[in-house]
C-alpha cells in the first residue's frame, strides 16, 4: 500500500468527519524517518497537518533516538504546558500500515537560519529571541518527569565515551578532536544537582520562527534526561550562528539575555562554566556528526553530494574548538 492510499484509508477514522486529503508532499526523508505534509479535507474547515513516520522495520530506535511514540508524548506534554509546540492529532497504530509515527498540526513559519538571521521581516523577532529561547528552554526543563515517557539518562562520562568510540570508529586521525576529548575529560563537571528533561537538539532548523518570535519547537528525537545546562550550551554552539559569530545564541543574541530569561522562568541559577563545557562538547559532537555523514556517504545506500560535502565541514568545528580551548592572543 502506498503512503497516499494508507492515509486515505485511515483519515476518516483519525479525523472523524474528514472526507479526504489534498496536497500530500514529502518534506524530508532519510532511511529511517520521513516527514510528510498534507491537508485534511473536512466540512468544518480543512486542517493542515504534518505526518512524521518511520517505515516498518525502522521503528526500533537506533541508539540515541527517543522513538516517535515518545516524541508524540513529549510534544503533547509540551503543548499542554504552554510551550510553543504543534498539537499532536493522532499517533499511528499497527493497523494503519504506516509504521510508527504521528500526525500533528502544521505550524506556518520559517526554519531556515539565513532567513531568520537576515530578512527584514524577522528584525523584531531577532531582538527578542535570545530571551524567548531562554524562557522556552526553562519550560521544557520544568516538564513533570512522572508524566513523560521512558527516556535514556545522559551523563557526561557516558556521552564522552560515546563520542570517543564514534570518533575512533572513523579510523581517521584528527588531533584537534583528540585535544578536545582530552580537555573534556579533564574538565568534566561533577554530576548535575538537578536532572531534568533535556530537549537535546534545541537549535535552528528545529525551531519555527515567525515575525513575532518562536512559534514551535520541533524534533524531540534526541530528548533525554540529563543536565539542564546541556540545552543552553548546545544553542550556543558556533555551528548554529550561521555567520553571526558575535551573537552566541543561534546568531540572535547574547548569552546574558538567554541566561537571564532562563533564570527568571526556571528559578534555577545558570552554571556558566557548565554551559561552556556543554558548548565545547556540543561543538565536538557536531564535528563528529559531520564525519559520520561522510561515513554514511561512503557506506551507502544514501550516496549523496550533500552528505559528502558535510564531511568537509568537520574542520569548521576544529577551528571553533581551537577558538574555545586555545584562543590566539593578539596584540
Amino acid at each position: 500500500m502506498t503512503i497516499e492510499s494508507a492515509i486515505k484509508t485511515g483519515i476518516a477514522c483519525w479525523f472523524p468527519g474528514a472526507t479526504g486529503i489534498d496536497r500530500l508532499a514529502q518534506l524530508s526523508g532519510g532511511a529511517s524517518q520521513e516527514t510528510w505534509s498534507f491537508d485534511v479535507l473536512h466540512p468544518s474547515g480543512n486542517i493542515a497537518v504534518i505526518l512524521r513516520r518511520a517505515p516498518s522495520g525502522y521503528g526500533a530506535a537506533p541508539g540515541r533516538a527517543a522513538g516517535l511514540e515518545a516524541e508524540a508524548v513529549l510534544m503533547q506534554q509540551a503543548c499542554e504546558a504552554g510551550i510553543p509546540s504543534p498539537r499532536v492529532r493522532y499517533v499511528l497504530r499497527g493497523e494503519d500500515s504506516l509504521g510508527s509515527g504521528f500526525i500533528m498540526d502544521r505550524v506556518e513559519g520559517e526554519t531556515i537560519p539565513r532567513k531568520i538571521l537576515r530578512d527584514a521581516e524577522f528584525a523584531n523577532a531577532r531582538n527578542m529571541l535570545a530571551s524567548q529561547l531562554g524562557t522556552v528552554i526553562a519550560g521544557i526543563h520544568a516538564l513533570e518527569k512522572s508524566r513523560l515517557p521512558k527516556l535514556r539518562l545522559m551523563t557526561v562520562a557516558g556521552e564522552l565515551d560515546d563520542l570517543a568510540a564514534e570518533y575512533k570508529s572513523f579510523d581517521w586521525p584528527r588531533p584537534v578532536f583528540d585535544l578536545a576529548l582530552r580537555w573534556l575529560h579533564d574538565n568534566a563537571p561533577a554530576p548535575a544537582d538537578s536532572v531534568t528533561l533535556v530537549h537535546g537538539d534545541f537549535r535552528h532548523g528545529n525551531l519555527i520562527i515567525g515575525p513575532e518570535g518562536i512559534r514551535a519547537v520541533l524534533d524531540w528525537e534526541l530528548a533525554h534526561f540529563g543536565d539542564p545546562m546541556e540545552d543552553l550550551g548546545w544553542i550556543c554552539v558556533n555551528s548554529w550562528r550561521f555567520g553571526e559569530i558575535d551573537k552566541p545564541v543561534g546568531g540572535l543574541g547574547s548569552r546574558e539575555d538567554l541566561f537571564a530569561a532562563y533564570e527568571a522562568a526556571a528559578g534555577r541559577a545558570v552554571d556558566v562554566p557548565r554551559v561552556m563545557f556543554w558548548e565545547t562538547l556540543g561543538t565536538l559532537r557536531w564535528g563528529i556528526m559531520c564525519c559520520g555523514m561522510m561515513q554514511r556517504f561512503r557506506a551507502g545506500p544514501d550516496y549523496s553530494m550533500e552528505r559528502a560535502m558535510i564531511g568537509r565541514r568537520a574542520s569548521e568545528t576544529e577551528i571553533d574548538l581551537l577558538r574555545l580551548l586555545a584562543p590566539r592572543r593578539r596584540a
Binding site: D178, L181, W183, E306, M309, S315, E318, I319
Partner: protein, 124 residues
C-alpha cells in the same frame, strides 16, 4: 608526464558551464543540488591548488614536533595517539601553533567563507 589542460583547468571549465548555462535553467531542489555540486568542484580546485604545499609544511612541523619521520598519515596517527594518552597536549611547546596552522590550512580549502576562519585569517 600528463598532457594539458590540467585537472584544475578542466574542472573550472566544467564548473563555469554549469554556473553560467545550466544553473539559470534549474529551480527548486535541482538548483540547490547544483549549488552543492559547484561548491564541491570549487573545493576540489582549491585542494588541487594548495594541498601539496600545505602537506609538505605539515609534515615538516609534525616531524619536528614528534621527533620522528614518516608519512602524513603515520605522523598524524602518532600525534593523535600521544594526545589521547596525555603524553602531549596544549602544554607541549609548538603543538598549539601546529594545530592552528593545520586547521587554518584545512579551512582555506574546505570552507574559506566560514566566519570563524575569516576572523582568524584577517585578525580583525
Amino acid at each position: 608526464m600528463q598532457d594539458q589542460p590540467t585537472p584544475v583547468e578542466l574542472i573550472n571549465a566544467v564548473a563555469e558551464f554549469l554556473r553560467a548555462d545550466v544553473a539559470p535553467q534549474l529551480s527548486g531542489h535541482a538548483a540547490f543540488k547544483l549549488r552543492v555540486g559547484l561548491n564541491a568542484l570549487d573545493l576540489v580546485v582549491r585542494q588541487l591548488t594548495h594541498e601539496a604545499s600545505g602537506d609538505a609544511a605539515e609534515i615538516e612541523r609534525l616531524s619536528k614536533l614528534l621527533g620522528t619521520s614518516g608519512s602524513l598519515d603515520d605522523l598524524n596517527r602518532l600525534l593523535s595517539a600521544r594526545i589521547a594518552s596525555g603524553e602531549m597536549g596544549f602544554q607541549t611547546p609548538g603543538l598549539t601553533e601546529h594545530v592552528w596552522q593545520t586547521t587554518m590550512d584545512k579551512l582555506a580549502i574546505d570552507q574559506p567563507n566560514y566566519a570563524s576562519y575569516k576572523r582568524e585569517r584577517d585578525g580583525s
